[in-house]
């Protein structure tokens, strides 16, 4: 079983030591699709707020799930640069789509967020913390790219010399149910190039692969932790067979084979930093609206601004953190002037941070290949195309 997967899978997964390692095959069982409702019940019984994909306003977003019918059953998405629409499937797949505009950071690093509150009293100004009881989340449907993104945010916000306490308090308790990517066409995705998918090997409590055919609808469930095992044992299940693994492997292989985008990452940071005055920057700047959509949908963008807000009487003051965007001129405002005024310099800052300087800072790329920035850019700027044009690098291996 183990070596069957390795033969099929290794030539697809480029081992990026910084982001992932291929480990031994986790223990796996098979669960009927109808059991998903019981999984939800079990999570609720343990006082988790279950967050997962749901259809709203013409997109698949992440929100609180009360029942299994909140999931986008039978929906898929069609994504391209600057385009997103939903379409009905002709089957009842629960997870047959790529990622939507939401990322898990909206729950782990919420914005706006009150860092602390101060009250003016007769005894003076008293500062108090307001984050007493952060929610316990269970994330249902974390794609491998998004799981890698959470790992990247961990390095930035939790594992460095300074810890963001609000991030740590939310992140450390999250119950993660990953969904291995299958049953859809990944048009703007390039997780294979970034080494983050379409399979996750670890970092989850449970990982589901949806196996759907006219005769059966079931999930291969990989167990990634003790508390994952503990919840799973409340559901009827049977051990995964060789044929279950074969089906799962083939489905994920198909996803990898149909990747919509590619990016050569070997040598990319150096090549980008050696081309900071490349004429292509002007070309992209002529199109870029500096709207910041890309940063808002990006699962790893973490920048935030801090400001003091008070009520009208000035007796209650809050120091508030809000998500910020490096595409604004205000982002670099220092002592009376903005240091990055041109759109060119701001786009360059974003791209070189994601794909070059992030590596120096945190040891990994800042990009996981989820494709959101390509889909949600109103003018359809494609990060893989821009990076390739500026670095001059192209991927040499053929897609299978």
């Amino acid at each position: 079983m183990a070596h069957h997967w390795t033969e099929a899978g290794l030539h697809l997964l480029i081992d990026r030591a910084a982001t992932r390692t291929v480990t031994a095959m986790p223990q796996a069982v098979v669960v009927e699709a109808s059991q998903l409702a019981n999984l939800l019940t079990a999570l609720h019984a343990r006082k988790y707020r279950v967050i997962g994909p749901t259809v709203r306003d013409g997109a698949i977003v992440y929100d609180e799930l009360t029942t299994v019918s909140d999931l986008p059953v039978g929906w898929t998405d069609e994504q391209e640069a600057g385009q997103y629409r939903l379409r009905r499937r002709d089957d009842g797949a629960y997870f047959g789509y790529a990622v939507g505009p939401h990322a898990w950071k909206r729950f782990l690093h919420p914005s706006p967020f009150t860092l602390w509150r101060a009250r003016r009293t007769p005894d003076g100004v008293i500062v108090e913390l307001t984050d007493a009881e952060p929610s316990r989340f269970a994330f249902l449907g974390v794609r491998p790219c998004d799981l890698a993104a959470i790992g990247i945010l961990d390095r930035v916000l939790r594992d460095g010399p300074y810890v963001d306490p609000s991030y740590r308090d939310r992140r450390d308790h999250v119950f993660v149910v990953t969904v291995q990517c299958a049953n859809f066409t990944p048009s703007t995705c390039f997780c294979v190039s970034m080494g983050t998918g379409p399979r996750a090997e670890n970092g989850f409590d449970l990982a589901l692969t949806e196996l759907l055919d006219p005769e059966s609808h079931r999930f291969l469930v990989e167990i990634g932790s003790e508390r994952g095992a503990e919840i799973l044992h409340e559901l009827p299940h049977r051990p995964a067979s060789a044929s279950d693994w074969e089906t799962a492997t083939r489905l994920v292989h198909n996803t990898a084979a149909r990747m919509g985008r590619q990016l050569e990452v070997r040598g990319l940071p150096e090549a980008l930093l050696a081309n900071l005055e490349h004429p292509r920057w002007d070309h992209v700047a002529a199109r870029c609206l500096t709207c910041g959509n890309c940063t808002m949908v990006c699962p790893t963008c973490f920048c935030f601004s801090v400001e003091d807000r008070s009520d009208l009487t000035g007796s209650v003051i809050e120091r508030v953190r809000t998500a910020d965007v490096c595409f604004t001129t205000a982002f670099t405002y220092t002592a009376g002037k903005s240091l990055r005024q041109s759109a060119r310099s701001r786009y360059r800052q974003w791209l070189t941070h994601k794909l070059a300087t992030w590596v120096t800072q945190f040891g990994t790329f800042g990009c996981v290949g989820c494709g959101r920035c390509i889909t949600w850019c109103p003018v359809g700027i494609d990060i893989t195309e821009e990076a390739a044009a500026i670095s001059g690098l192209t991927r040499k291996d053929e897609r299978p």
Partner: protein, 286 residues
């Protein structure tokens, strides 16, 4: 004004400021003051020359300000602040007895240990003299550790000179070479008129470029021209240190604003050797 005492929970949370009180206020120029601060509780925030604190006016905001002096008693802080925005305008208006929130210390410090046994060049432009003053005071406290100590200072005009009492005392010291210049003199000024890089040539006889540590702070253009002049004199890039300034909001490397290429200036700076910055120095708006 924050006339009321500030109480904060024990700072296990790096975003929460400590309460300090203003002990003294000295007006340096029309828009700049130096404040000396004392902590309310038994807390010691030990800052090295070159490091900065985040100073809060609760309800208005928080700004990064370098330490500009040495504490006379443990725990005290000294900061020179120029009114350029809403928070600094409030800070400049504080009076002794007012309260202020302080977080820190943050950032890298001036390479004083590296300068032991070397010639030292401190080159300041305008408000850039504030972070260098703490370095100079620290050097003068242990003067015997250093060879030649040279301070060059350029200001906009004679009324914009900071630390005038210190300057007069320093000019009397035989173990310190101090040269000053202004861009725009008034009718009483009988000193030099011109730019700081010009001062370097005048003191070239006093320092050995191969054994010199240079520390520079001022507007970026001033630092750029100063570096060129130092390079012409043969000071190696690894021995030229700058203090840089960017938008800083969290000071702990989490908010992303202070980035300059791969560097978070709140963690990897604000003091950096020019050798690390050289690859990016010619890139506009980087």
């Amino acid at each position: 004004m924050v006339k009321a005492a500030i109480t904060t929970p024990a700072a296990t949370n790096p975003f929460i400021p400590f309460p300090f009180v203003v002990m003294s206020r000295r007006r340096e120029t029309r828009d700049t003051v130096t404040l000396r601060l004392r902590p309310l509780r038994n807390v010691r925030l030990l800052a090295q020359p070159g490091q900065f604190m985040m100073l809060s006016v609760i309800g208005v905001g928080e700004v990064p300000i370098s330490v500009s002096g040495l504490p006379r008693r443990p725990g005290e802080l000294e900061h020179t602040i120029r009114a350029v925005g809403s928070v600094t305008r409030h800070l400049v208006a504080l009076r002794p007895g007012d309260y202020i929130g302080v977080r820190g210390p943050f950032g890298t410090s001036w390479p004083l240990q590296l300068a032991h046994g070397q010639d030292v060049l401190l080159i300041a432009g305008g408000l850039g003299f504030a972070p260098l003053r703490s370095a100079l005071l620290s050097i003068l406290r242990e003067r015997w550790r250093y060879r030649q100590v040279i301070a060059l200072y350029g200001a906009r005009s004679p009324t914009d000179l900071l630390y005038r009492r210190d300057l007069s005392r320093w000019q009397q010291r035989p173990d310190l070479i101090l040269r000053m210049t202004v861009d725009h003199p008034d009718q009483y000024w009988r000193g030099q008129v011109g730019v700081v890089p010009n001062l370097i040539r005048q003191v070239a006889a006093f320092f050995e470029p191969a054994n010199t540590i240079a520390m520079i702070c001022g507007p970026e253009i001033m630092m750029r021209f100063t570096i060129r002049e130092l390079q012409k004199h043969g000071v190696p890039d690894e021995h030229i240190f700058l203090s840089l300034e960017r938008n800083m909001q969290c000071a702990i490397g989490l908010c992303g604003h202070c980035q300059l290429g791969p560097f978070f200036l709140c963690k990897d700076g604000p003091v950096l050797p020019y050798s690390r910055l050289a690859p990016f120095s010619e890139i506009r708006e980087f």
